[in-house]
């Protein structure tokens, strides 16, 4: 389990290093890392951080902040259409990630110092 403090709305948090340390501690050289962020509004993404702003523009257009019946519907809908879970390969005790890509948590809600929990499962040998 990995816990991080977030703030928002629509802020990215790079959790790659934390996950890499987690994998190292597990002593698994070959296997799979499964992630799931707890909650109904956050999202996990594999993304080049330099392209994060561009993605936010697209997401804001696709799912506007206001005009919904449910108060923070935009946050729920974003979490649903992006994803709350990821699966990554582990090789030589390191995560295999696409070039320039990081594991980012998207905090969609207007929160400050909010605790987010990412469940981590490592399977391998």
């Amino acid at each position: 389990m990995v816990e991080i403090r977030t703030h928002g709305p629509m802020k990215f948090f790079d959790v790659t290093e934390t996950l890499e340390k987690f994998v190292e501690k597990c002593n698994v050289s070959l296997g799979v890392l499964r992630l799931d962020v707890k909650g109904a509004t956050p999202a996990l993404l594999l993304l080049d951080p330099s392209e994060a702003e561009e993605l936010l523009k697209v997401l804001r257009k696709l799912v506007p902040f206001s005009g919904w019946r449910h108060g923070n519907a935009y946050a729920h809908l974003l979490s649903t259409i992006l994803t709350t879970s990821l699966t990554l390969a582990i090789e030589n005790s390191r995560l295999i990630l696409p070039e320039r890509t990081r594991v980012l948590l998207l905090e969609t809600r207007s929160v400050y110092n909010h605790r987010r929990t990412i469940f981590v499962v490592v399977v391998g040998r």
């Binding site: 296997g31 499964r34 799931d36 707890k38 909650g39 109904a40 799912v63 919904w68 019946r69 449910h70 519907a73 729920h76 809908l77 979490s79 649903t80 259409i81 994803t83 709350t84 879970s85 699966t87 929990t117 469940f119 499962v121 399977v123 391998g124 040998r125």
Partner: protein
Amino acid sequence: MNPCSCRASRRDVYAKLSNVRYASRCLGNEMIDVIVARMKVESCGYEALDITENVRSLVKQLKLVKGSVTLYAIDRGCFVVGIEYEPNLLADLEDFMKSLGCFERRSSCIALFSKPLTIIVYGNELQLGVFRRIVFVDVSKAKGIKEVILVAEGMFEHG
């Protein structure tokens, strides 16, 4: 998404355990098993059903202690999503799906909603958080029995 007349009955969702497929492999001292089950959902063709308790009950029945469950729907116009099950939010989801052309089965909708949903299981419990539920969404407008695939992977209590 607004409920329709046949939504009320919770008995309409069940897991067909006879169809379970089982595989296992040994990793060091731990046994990792994979179970594939099919859940049957009786749907009126246009509804959003909260299937969380059905999945929870299946996880308990399978005795999955720690690992993950991955779910997805296989019928056209059907999806499994993680979302709060609240009437206003379901109405917003319905509007959003309409705007994406889900009822016309446009690829933009299918690409965004048809992803498998993975939930971590720890201590024989689904780790969903407070509000997130597992919701089966059917916009096919075709009444009938629909299927949800459930892949349970991890360490199971044996015996």
